[in-house]
Amino acid sequence: MPADQPLVVISRSGSKRWISAADTAAGKVGLRVGMPASKAQAIVANLNMIDADPVADAAALERLALWALRRYSPVVAVDCADGIVMDTEGADHLQGGEELLISGIVNGLRGKGLTARAAVADTWGAAHALARLTPAETIVVPVGGVTKAVIGLPIHCLRLPPDTIQGLRVLGVETVGELSAMPRAPLALRFGPEVGRRLDQLFGRIAEPIQPLRTPELVEVSRNFQEPIGAPETIAKYVRQLVGQLTAKLEERGLGVRRSDLVIHRVDNTRQSVRAGLQKPVRDPTRLSKLLCDRIETIDPGFGIEKIVLVAVMAEPLEEMQIASSLVEEEVVDVTPLIDILGNRGQRLYRMTPAASDVPERSVKRIRPTADETGADWAVKWPRPSRLLAHPEKIEVTALLPDQPPAVFTWRGKRRRVTRADGPERIFGEWWTRPKEMQAVRDYFVVEDEQGERYWVYRAGDGVDLETGSHHWFIHGVFG
């Protein structure tokens, strides 16, 4: 179906039919959500209409929530009929912070062909409202900034029943700010306690724990405490016990854990979580407990912990294998445990590998540290600097055109006389990556000054034709 034709989803209740969702093309021709279907058909002839299927929608949303649970956060739940709520605390550092986390989620969903909007805020209520009402695709509300962010929002974002909203509108209340300024008692008398509760949840005055989504195939172990615990050593002890139970359960099913979550229920009905990811499926209790205990210091036990839950969110088949005894062969050390430990601390781990490009800054590619070892090495045997500047820096140069190395150059305010030089090594632009580089040429020289300091400099252009470059000189690297 062509993308420019309007498409709407029709809901029905009795004989009443109305639009429950409309795409951008439909919005352009004036179709709105809530409009009766007959009116829409009058506006657009031969309108494409699909009957709504709430059951299938809910199932699809749950699948999406499960995907988010595996990828982003330990505590994920379905929020109303059209959203997913997740507790990002303790999980955002693995994606490089809150901003990167939510833009990553939106981009990930776009890759699946879905448009999404995301918000991060202190409370569930605020994030729910902001995600639906801000024009921006992603928004991060700083800690403590909820009041300022939601005060001007309309009241229909409060997750209240439609007739309550209608009743409040009749009273002339339009925004959250106006509603929160009203006295509570008359409101409660007329609309019940729900209005006050939603407002308190929005501003974080009362807690609203997220009941995480669980499916039968998730392996989960938990432990309740008669007396709340709080000391790190005690937590570590019970975490080790739980890991032992979890690995035993996994062994029954022949699985190894790829991602596990430790959810901690405190006595004041709040939750905290620690997530540990692994590069390969693992069922070794020592390794798992080391990963989880490594991050116990991030847990704030508050007044005490009453329950600890350990879930293997992502588990993959793990076969028992016989290891060849190495009498003669060199022992190959598996470094994945180390990579797991460092990776879970939020460090960026990678290996370098050659990329097929002559342009220096493109000739190196980062790959996952556990990627297969290909044995590939750089084919070029010309001298290369051990430090490459992030951006080539412009230098003042005295040099003969077209192919002589510089005689004198000034870099960062210091003038250097060149005593020895090698070059030019000509590198052509790659027109297949950027059309602008069709003609581009760089002539690289190795230059050495009187002190013996060696630099990698280049001239943009071939020294004859200005089409190939500006003939300015740049320094690109420092030799050891």
Partner: protein, 252 residues
């Protein structure tokens, strides 16, 4: 008569001190440079595994640490096993490191935002065991921290290499402060080896062994790492009489 006795007495004392220092240091394995003049200055005949070694650049090298990184890469290349390279500034150009004999498959980079994280990663890598060497690029290395690294290295016998590089050249005076490292090197660039034709020859470094535990300081003029990570003695010679010796070694 006393002259004959002295070495034996000293040997005995050394053995007893080594015994006191703990079991790990007894099986002190070393990584020789393969250059007699350098190795004889180092206790045990080479860079000790299970110890901390510091390398810094001289002059402009204090900031960019280009020569120091290459020297370190040469040492790491001659060790066996994987290398963990912890950095905060990812400006290492790997083709050059690979030319010093360190294959890209062997090096795992660990990039952190803070220097403290680099130290923590290094310590974790050292206590993991099974790595060939752990390299860290650091600005500051206080005594306590260096002792932690040294102890972690001793426990597993992994070599710890610290490349010191500063933000400004004036800050490099920090390199005089004591640390628990086994050896301390300063690698400064020298004019390259002269060629009979125009061009830049093999890079030469002035390697200053500024501090070595149970040894004496020394200076060497060396040729930069070759494709196997080896260095060689390459002093300046007006007539180029000794140039042939290393040429032969490089060709082999």
């Amino acid at each position: 008569m006393s002259r004959v006795h002295h070495p034996r007495v000293i040997e005995e004392l050394r053995d007893r001190i080594a015994h006191l220092e703990g079991g790990a240091s007894k099986k002190a394995v070393v990584l020789p440079f393969g250059v007699g003049e350098i190795d004889e200055r180092l206790p045990g005949g080479g860079l000790a595994y299970g110890a901390l070694h510091e390398v810094a650049g001289g002059g402009v090298g204090t900031v960019d640490g280009a020569a120091a990184a290459l020297f370190t890469a040469g040492i790491a290349a001659r060790s066996r096993g994987k290398i963990l390279w912890c950095v905060t500034r990812p400006d290492l150009f790997f083709p050059a490191i690979s030319q010093a004999g360190l294959h890209p498959d062997r090096v795992i980079f660990c990039e952190a935002d803070k220097e403290e994280d680099v130290l923590a990663s290094m310590e974790e890598g050292l206590s993991f065991g099974g790595l060939g060497a752990v390299v860290g690029e650091l600005v500051r290395l206080p005594m306590t921290v260096s002792r932690r690294l040294q102890l972690a290295a001793e426990k597993t016998g992994t070599m710890a290499l610290v490349v010191r590089r500063w933000r400004r050249q004036t800050e490099a005076s920090d390199y005089g402060n004591p640390t628990a490292s086994m050896t301390r090197w300063r690698i400064s660039v020298l004019p390259s080896e002269p060629l009979p034709v125009a061009g830049v020859g093999r890079a030469r470094w002035l390697a200053e062994l500024m501090r070595v535990k149970a040894g004496e300081c020394a200076e060497f003029e060396i040729g930069a790492c070759d494709a196997k990570g080896r260095v060689c003695l390459l002093p300046v010679s007006a007539d180029g009489s000794n140039a042939s010796s290393w040429r032969g070694s490089r060709a082999s």
